[in-house]
Amino acid sequence: MIHQYQNNGYNIVLDVNSGAVHVVDQEAYDVIEVLNRMNEDHTVETLKSPETAEALKKELGEKYSEKDLLDILEAVTELTEQGRLFTKDIYESFIDVVKQRKTVVKALCLHIAHDCNLACKYCFAEEGEYHGRRALMSYEVGKKALDFLIANSGTRRNLEVDFFGGEPLMNWQVVKDLVAYGREQEKLHDKHFRFTLTTNGVLLNDEVQEFVNKEMDNVVISLDGRKEVNDQMRPFRNGKGSYDLIVPKFQKLAESRNQEKYYIRGTFTRNNLDFSKDVEHFADLGFKQMSIEPVVGDDTEPYAIQKEDLPQIFEEYDKLAKFLIEREKSGRGFNFFHFMIDLEGGPCVSKRLSGCGSGTEYLAVTPWEISTHVISL
C-alpha cells in the first residue's frame, strides 16, 4: 500500500507496510502514482515486465523523457526488491497472535481527586466530578492500586502511574504518600515506577515543584494558548480566567526542569480553529515541549469541532509544521508532540497492532474502585 502526498515543497511517498519514507522529485512522484494506479500489488516481476514500461511511457511519455522514466522504474524496482516499496501486507496473520497474547497491566491512571478548582467548559470529567459525587482518593485505595499494578505486571519492569483528576493537587498529600510507597515497593519487587502528574497549575507552588522535579518522570500542564482562548474555556468557578495565575508558574516549572520531561498541553475547540497561533504563543512564552489536541465532546456543543472544520484544521497543521521548521532554523526550536516521529526506532508491529493498551494494559482507578472505564478513547 502506497500513500503519497505533497507538503511544504516536498513530495513524500510512504510505503505503508514497510514503514519506508521516500522523498522524491516530481517525476518519480508521478511515476509512482501511475504505477500504483495501474496495479496496487506490483511485484518485482510485474515491474520488470515490458508491459509496465510501455504503459508508463504511454501515460507520461509526453511529459518526461524515456530515459528518465526508465531510470525511475529501475529505482522503484530496486526498492521493491529491498522491501521498501509495494511491500506486501504480511501483518494480518499476526492480529490473532496479538489478540490472544497474555496481557499484563503496565500502567494505571489514578483519579486522585474527583474534584477541580477550575470549571473548564469542555471538561469530560464534568468539572472534575466524573458525573458523580466529588471525592478524593484515599491513601488506602491508592496503595491497593499500586499493589494491584505490581501483582499484575508480570515480568515488565517499568510501570507507569499517572496522577490524574479532576485536579490531583487538590489531594496532594496522598500523591506524595503514594510516591513514597511506590519507591519502597519498587525495591522489594525489582520494578521501576515512572510517575507522571497532570495538573491545571492553580495550586502549583515551590514545594510542589521541588517534589515533582525529584519524583515525576513527566508533568503535563494544561493551558490552551492565547489568554483570550484559554480564559474563554478554562475559567474558575466564579468565571474569572485562569491564564494570569498559572502562566508564570508554568514558565517557572518548565525552566526548573531544564525545558525537558514536561508537556504544556492545550485543547483546541471550534472557538480557536486557528490553533497554530496558540502553539506559536506557547513558543513565545518560552515553552519547548508542547502538545495541542482537538476537543472531545458532544456534537451539539457550540465548541464542538464539525466535519466542515476539517480543511481548516489540516491547514493549521501545515502552518504549524512550517512554523516549527522556521523556529528550528533560527535556533529557537521546540517539540510538538504529534510531530515527534522516530522513523528509525518507532513502534514495532506488535505495538501497532495492539494499540495504546487502554482497557487492557492501562487501567483507570477512581477514588472508589479499580475500573476498566476507558477515559482516553
Binding site: 522523498v23 502538545s291 526506532g345
Partner: protein
Amino acid sequence: MKHIKTLNTQTLNNTVKKGGCGECQTSCQSACKTSCTVGNQTCENAK
C-alpha cells in the same frame, strides 16, 4: 540526478521477527488523554 531519497533504514516487517517485548510506554501518558498516539512511540529496545 537521484530521483528517490529514502529517509529511513529500518523496515517495519523486520520487527515482526522479534515480536513485542511490551516494555514501551503506554501511549497516551506522554501528553494527552484524548487522543491515542501510537505512531510516535519510541521502542525501549532501540534506545
